[in-house]
Symmetry: C2
Subunit: 522 residues, 2 copies
């Protein structure tokens, strides 16, 4: 291809006299190094200098922190950050290198770092270096996924990766599809939106719309999506033992007249439990209702041949939420919504002449606008693609298995610990609930208060980030537990033993303090 | 603070025998280098090796591309990407370095790179290196902004930066506030949601909800948000000359009975025009309606003392959309929604016991959940903060002024070009519309078709990325124009002269081809 078009300064281009003589010079007031752009052939050089500064600041910040999170609690953390970074919008800049050193170091020193094995509170994973590195390319190139002429190759990559993920979820369907979202919350929102539009298409105008039926164990984003979309409040049904009860769903559906969407969970936030998908699918089908599965946590079990059977029944769902920023080790955001047929995405179609004019479509320019609720959209697929290629399905499966194994090992350690007690029954995917036995000696409310205080004490001291969850005890009572969500792809049970002693010790210290207070325990 | 808690392997920690002996070893099947995590003190070393691979792949990809976008059109680009990256989900991985080299190089070679001055179609900015580098830290640390114990310092940084941006928009209000969003689309969505909830609070249940009144020049996300939220279709009013007409808004509001939200635009997508905000504010106030301003494009004019007066009246708005991934040179996403009083955000409040339990709040843990519609949320504030500090308000203002000046220079070049004609009248913020004079010689539909074909020809040949917009001509006829959106912080008019010759030449070549076809022009 000859491109003698006067585009200068770029290798492989001829100059025909109509173009510019050299790359653009800085004419703005700030220094050249501070206004360097990240793209083109010259960008990587400027970017390389600045990423070195960032990497040093990250290492220094982590060393200064010296643990999974900063000590001193919220006020102290806020004070340090403000002292380091004020004013955040100065009249005159400090230059790129100083700004990066200061801001990145302060944020790193004050981070709750999931790369530390004792940072286990949430579905908050330590990102793989390969994913974080790939994400740098997304930032530098800045493709926007809303039109072909902003993301020619990235759009194709997204098409390929979403097709592969959709096939993983729906291996027996002909035309499954998937969208990249900002996370499980957006995936659930789009799932409910699509259900609303399907219901609208089949019902008289003015009908109440689709009714969502979910468990008390469903993520809060399900109820929030219904609110956002103007749908009626979801019908919330019982979850004995933390799982959605098919009999309760059956009763709920029997009481409804219009279209309904049952939302089940594969990997609950509190316990990592998987709802009984095959039975729920059967109940939904019997009532002519549809099933959506929120597998934000559990979805990546599909990477493992050994664990995938835990998600049997998933294919019965009309749509499935996945999150690769949980068991997928991506930096946020890396959400996915899979649908069993690409036609189901039709309600998202949208025409905006500047992005997907009809004649451009007829001339062969792909229309990407119906692939998201967002317009400008970062290519989160780039880091996902690099990770899938680097590790393969089997490699990712091995990491998922590792986390599941670590949770089993951790549960054994809890069971062996004299001062701690595990929530009776099986454990979730990689989530273990436990509490100090001291909490059982106190009246129920005080016991729960002790559990909550242990967690806050560890946070304030900067020693560990442990979560909390309310769940049924053996006697059916709902109690507060400490929660460890084990997502570290390399940490082992052995790495976590000290965390248990720490929790037990905190409980003992709190009880001692309270016993010495004249007014007794709070 | 003494932390003799058995947390091993990290400087500054003592070991008391209860902890682990060393950092966690890899137990998963993939190689150690491929499963390295990005955080903690060791992560930056692993990340540094991989970012080097990424930077090389970016430079190689850009050199291979040799221009603003890949040549050959959609099919050729898709074929090359697929050939390089298949299979995207292999059974066994290729390792981190190979995967990054392959995927990043393919995406870079196939990118529409806004760092090239001839990539001017959209509000699609070349990110500053300082912002892209800071974003690497966000990926490596992976703070999630939905709870304090996932983002202790990042949450404070967000608080400080949003306060500074809110004060920039609302200097005369006591308690303005701002949210970080995924872009203008989400900002507009939240603005409409908040208006819906305010209307709901003041009206009987079952009322139709707030009615949106906007111009035909409003971004499509306004209508899409109304659809998503279950609101009635917006009332769309006239925009003579591309600006929302206050008299037309007055008439529209007079015809409505319930609560109304007028949505104005400061920087339209097609032309970069600013609606007459003071007059619109007065009209809205007269009818008891509220005003939201979508300043996704124009908002950063506030960084410049010289240009800020173009946004006079902005403070009358109840909420304002900004996008720092446009005139702010951030990689996506960097959206902002400013509100004139923090109380206006109350409808977003949400309780989820695992993230913001009531007793945790009483004990001093900040509640972050009401700051977004998302749950897991990347700290986009980190790159914004690094940029604000590096350049300062004056530095950013200088870059905005540079773009405005470049657009003026570009307009002069168009006016001087014998084969091109500029849309009559003033130009928008940094957007210039023009078309080949040859298009005027043909019948209207054929003229517009020629304009569209020039754009597609340049895209297919990989020579330039120019946009398109329909806008009124001097005679009131709506015609199709080529659009240059000038967001490059360093490119000058001189850099862009060749682009005009290219467009003129493409038009001439297309006409010659058509003239030689037996059936005449298409």
């Amino acid at each position: 291809m000859s491109r003698g078009d006067g585009h200068p300064g770029i290798p492989g281009r001829g100059a025909d006299g109509a173009g510019r003589p050299a790359p653009p010079a800085a004419t703005a007031a700030p220094g050249e190094a501070d206004t360097a752009v990240a793209g083109d052939t010259q960008g990587p050089l400027a970017l390389g200098k600045l990423t070195s500064v960032v990497l040093d600041a990250l290492a220094e910040g982590a060393a200064a922190r010296g643990g999974p999170l900063p000590g001193g609690g919220p006020d102290a953390v806020a004070e340090r950050l403000r002292a380091a970074c004020a004013p955040v919008l100065p009249e005159h800049g400090t230059g790129a290198e100083e700004a990066l050193r200061t801001v990145v170091r302060a944020v790193a020193e004050g981070a709750a770092d999931p790369a530390d094995p004792w940072c286990t509170a949430h579905l908050h994973c330590p990102p793989l270096a390969v994913a974080a590195a790939a994400d740098l390319a997304a930032a530098a190139l800045n493709p926007s996924m809303d039109s072909w002429d902003q993301a020619p190759a990235a759009a194709v990559l997204e098409q390929e990766v979403t097709a592969a993920l959709a096939a993983l979820v729906y291996p027996r369907w002909n035309a499954p599809d998937a969208l990249i979202t900002s996370g499980g919350t957006e995936s659930n929102l789009v799932a409910l939106l699509l259900a609303r539009e399907r219901a609208r298409a089949t019902r008289a105008a003015g009908a109440a719309g689709v009714r969502v039926v979910c468990g008390g164990n469903a993520h809060h984003s399900v109820r929030r999506a219904a609110w956002l979309l103007g749908l009626p409040e979801p019908v919330v049904v019982d979850c004995p033992g933390g799982r959605l009860d098919p009999a309760a769903v059956d009763r709920a559906l029997a009481g409804l007249t219009g279209p309904a969407l049952v939302v089940a969970t594969a990997g609950t936030t509190d316990e990592g439990l998987v709802d009984p998908l095959p039975r729920l699918a059967a109940v939904a089908a019997r009532h002519g209702a549809e099933l959506h599965v929120d597998a934000a946590y559990g979805g990546p079990l599909l990477f493992s041949d050994r664990l995938a059977p835990l998600l049997a029944g998933l294919e019965s769902a009309v749509s499935v939420t996945l999150d690769l920023h949980k068991l997928g080790w991506q930096p946020a955001a890396a959400g996915v919504l899979a649908v069993r047929d690409t036609e189901l995405l039709a309600p998202l179609a949208l025409r905006a002449d500047y992005l997907n004019a009809e004649d451009d479509g007829e001339a062969g320019l792909p229309d990407l606008l119906g692939r998201s609720l967002r317009t400008t959209r970062r290519p989160d697929v780039l880091k996902i693609a690099a990770t899938l290629r680097a590790l393969g399905r089997s490699g990712l499966g091995a990491l998922v298995e590792h986390c599941v194994r670590t949770a089993r090992d951790f549960a054994v350690l809890v069971d062996a610990h004299p001062a701690l007690r595990r929530r009776p029954g099986g454990i979730g995917i990689s989530t273990v609930l436990f509490r100090p036995v001291a909490a059982d000696a106190a009246p129920p409310a005080e016991g729960d208060a002790l559990v909550a205080e242990v967690r806050r004490r560890l946070l304030a001291e900067g020693r560990a980030v442990v979560g909390r969850a309310v769940a049924e005890d053996a006697d059916g009572t709902r109690r507060l537990w400490l929660k460890a969500t084990l997502l570290h792809p390399r940490a082992t049970g052995e790495d976590l033993a000290g965390l248990l002693d720490l929790a037990a010790d905190a409980a003992a210290r709190i009880r001692t303090t309270h016993a010495q207070e004249p007014e007794g325990p709070r």
